[in-house]
Amino acid sequence: MSDLVLILVTGLGLGALYFLAASGLSLVYGLMGVLNFAHGAFVTAGGYAAWLTMDALPNSLGVGVRLLVAAVVAVLVGAVVGVVVEVVLIRPLYLHHIQQVLVTVGLSLAAVAATQGIWGADPHPVEKPAWMAGTVELLGARLPVDRFVYVAVALALFAGLVALLRYTRLGLVIRAGVENRTMVEALGIDVRRTFTVVFGLGGAVAALAGVLYSQYAGTVSPGQGGSLLIYAFIVVVIGGMGSLTGTAVAALAVGLVQQLANYYAASGIGDLSVVLLLALVLLLRPSSLKGATA
């Protein structure tokens, strides 16, 4: 019983991380039709920005405070990187979807190589606040606190994004743009500016995912973003591309399936069962993948 609780909570925590990584990807895809391979680079950028900030801040500050500042810095860095990539690389190739994918592929390869060149290929350990590294007793199981932090952040982000989409003018434009971009343009709204904002938002969220993922892994490494990106892709496809609620549900399902299979079958089966889940969804409900409303 206590094992099951631990696995469920870990699965939820992992699902939360997947949601963080996938939500930006899903929004960008839903609105712009851009499959952003550089999203993994945004994740890595966030992780490294947080790590460097935490190292640079004086030790007299507590680890928790430094982590908080680092997270803010990372989110800003992610947003700036996202905006710059959109304006410089994506915008000139407007409506050339394949070329946009190719450019982000090149960028992701170059970014991983550059990270490796500057900070080395080896993982660097990241400090973790003592309270996050501790455990709490719940239903007879000792549960790591950090899992709850991930879930809380993901829930807050989900609520924030839903509120943004539902109650703001920007959200209205995004929702309308996902539905019918041509019509929105015809109504005289500058969708391109919205693209830039959404890309920056995606970068910021990805960077936040990078910070939390480096906390989860205990290290930062150049390939980290790429490995998280694969699961983010799977989540986006299962969740119906462009749908925020679908992404959240899919992220939870993927996290839980992965953890349960890893524990009850064998280590490594979890990753495979996620791909199997994807294949099942494709076979049973291919129509749900053609895109959805935000």
Partner: protein, 355 residues
């Protein structure tokens, strides 16, 4: 009208012009192992030395990989991120058949090719239920699953991160050892020739025309009565078969299988090779694959040789990463030369012929 008459007036000469240069190139390439010349800076040591032969053999195998991927991407317009799966399947099935199951070489090659082609049929049939970008993501996920399996090393048959070496006794003596590098080079050259012949036959066939139709306008091809699903599946199966054949040759040339063949990075690099060289052109894909691997191998060496000595530390360590240079170069090609190196070459040739 004049264009048509010009084409029909001298069909013999035109087809001769198409056939002769490749044959001359093939003869030159096949003769390289007899060429004891040094090309300082271009190749390590003599051209027919073991170092150069091994490098050229691997470059040729990568040219073949790129050509096999071009069947999907350049010829049919399928953006697949799972092609590494089939290359790795060919390589690993050969190594496993030889080492774990102790099959003879001929049977092992058949197992590797048959198994990979079957895998391509199944994965392709599932993945093709979605189109466009979703197809790319799904194929990526399948390839990633294979990568995980290989790294977990089930039952010790894949060797995990270390990879698995071919058992020496199972491979003909001609393909083993430093002094036999020319034979491995000819093997790689043979693979490229087979790949070119298969791709040219496919492109010229009815199926090849259907593939081009799907690439140019899929809804229109469907309206014309072409079964686009079957055409795309055929492209995946043929491309994967050639990729698996390349995997087999790769394993024989390098003496084993490594997990780098299964990574998503390798899949992405296949895409980079094809676009760099020129998608949808036989010579473009071959050139892209060859140059990509050559640059990858030589840039690593250049960074170690002190070529960037005068540059500041940070810049030097970044430029020492071949993938950084290739990634940036790739982005530039996508922007400024969408038809790739073959496109640039074609323009130069046309200008030279008709100034």
């Amino acid at each position: 009208m004049s264009r048509v008459s010009r084409m029909t007036s001298s069909p013999g000469r035109r087809s001769l012009l198409r056939v002769v240069p490749p044959l001359v190139l093939l003869a030159v390439l096949a003769y390289l192992p007899y060429l004891p010349v040094e090309l300082p800076g271009v190749l390590p040591g003599r051209v027919n030395g073991p170092g150069s032969m091994q490098l050229l053999a691997t470059c040729l195998v990568f040219a073949g990989f790129a050509l096999s991927y071009d069947v999907l991407f350049g010829r049919t317009g399928l953006l697949s991120f799972g092609h590494a799966l089939f290359v790795a399947a060919g390589s690993y099935l050969l190594t496993i058949s030889l080492s774990a199951w102790s099959l003879p070489l001929g049977v092992s090659v058949l197992v590797a090719l048959g198994g990979s082609t079957l895998l391509a049929l199944v994965v392709g049939a599932v993945a093709l239920r979605v189109g466009g970008i979703a197809f790319a993501m799904v194929t990526l996920a399948f390839a990633q699953a294979a990568s995980i399996v290989v790294l977990r090393d089930p039952g010790g048959i894949t060797g995990g991160e270390e990879g698995k070496a071919l058992p020496r006794s199972a491979v003909p003596d001609l393909l083993v050892g430093v002094q036999n590098a020319p034979y491995r080079y000819w093997l790689a050259l043979g693979f490229v020739v087979v790949a070119i012949v298969v791709v040219r036959l496919l492109v010229a066939s009815r199926a090849g025309h259907a593939m081009a139709a799907v690439r140019e306008n899929e809804p229109r091809a469907a309206v014309l009565g072409i079964s686009t699903y079957r055409v795309k599946l055929l492209a995946i199966v043929v491309g994967s078969f050639l990729g698996a054949l390349g995997g087999v040759v790769h394993a024989l040339v390098l003496g084993g299988s490594g997990p780098h063949l299964t990574t998503s990075e390798f899949t992405l690099s296949l895409l980079v090779m094809v676009v760099l060289g020129g998608a949808g052109r036989t010579w473009g894909a071959l050139l892209g694959g060859f140059l990509y691997h050559y640059a990858d191998a030589r840039l690593t060496e250049a960074s170690g040789s002190g070529l960037f000595e005068s540059l500041p530390d940070g810049l030097r360590s970044v430029l020492g990463q071949p993938l950084f240079v290739l990634g940036i170069f790739f982005v530039l090609v996508v922007y400024f030369a969408p038809a790739g190196l073959a496109g640039i070459g074609g323009r130069v040739v046309r200008k030279a012929v008709r100034p």
